[in-house]
Symmetry: C2
Subunit: 131 residues, 2 copies
């Protein structure tokens, strides 16, 4: 069984290659922009600066069949489900971030960890910050 995703926008960061990307998100990192396609703008209604969001994004060009590997963070050899590696059967990344500001279709956050241009899949209020 399979399911299809649509890309609802993209993420803009200072990073052009994988090697430049930090290993994880950082709340004091540089300003990044989540850019939603215009057709979805009405879906942002009542999302507020200061609110925490969970975003889902898509890691392209990864190995979807690598089931164990060494942790880039701790060096430990472990299964993919015990790691945050992008090499996963469904390469969906998840990050919880505070909204700095919103301008139209653009949401500004700090410290994302992905290449600029990364496809966006979803934005949700953090489970502890639904308003």
């Amino acid at each position: 069984m399979k399911a299809e995703l649509v890309f609802i926008g993209h993420i803009e960061t200072p990073y052009k290659t994988k090697d430049e990307c930090p290993r994880n998100i950082s709340k004091d990192g540089p300003l990044c922009t989540i850019v939603l396609k215009e057709k979805y703008e009405e879906g942002l209604y009542r999302l507020e600066p200061g609110q925490k969001i969970l975003i889902l994004y898509w890691f392209e060009n990864v190995n979807r069949k690598l089931y164990r590997q060494y942790s880039g963070k701790t060096g430990r050899y472990a299964g993919l489900f015990a790691l945050r590696t992008p090499n996963r059967p469904n390469p969906i990344a998840a990050a919880t971030l505070k909204i700095e500001k919103i301008e139209g279709c653009r949401i500004f956050v700090k410290g994302l960890d992905c290449i600029s241009g990364t496809p966006l899949l979803d934005i949700k209020p953090d489970i502890n910050d639904i308003r």
Copy 2:
């Protein structure tokens, strides 16, 4: 642009219909089981009982083009990105839970909120509990 997901397993809960499902996860809810397909079992290596995981799962039969609606929780009218509604362009649900125990391909957790049989997309260590 589109991307394809694979279902890596399913979730077993006490709920057979949407109406029976609680509105959100609850850490004191009934025991539920995350059942991974056998081919992925080696990916569980070094995931441990007591550890917190983020799971991603797939909401089937939802409206992927409903951009605003009333919150089932607060009654407030809001955009889909300000809500945790299953009606989203990419109907991916996210839940953070503690592992009660692991037996082969089965991970036991408490208090999931979905219909039994819901397709599973991913398991990750919680960002604050990577071991």
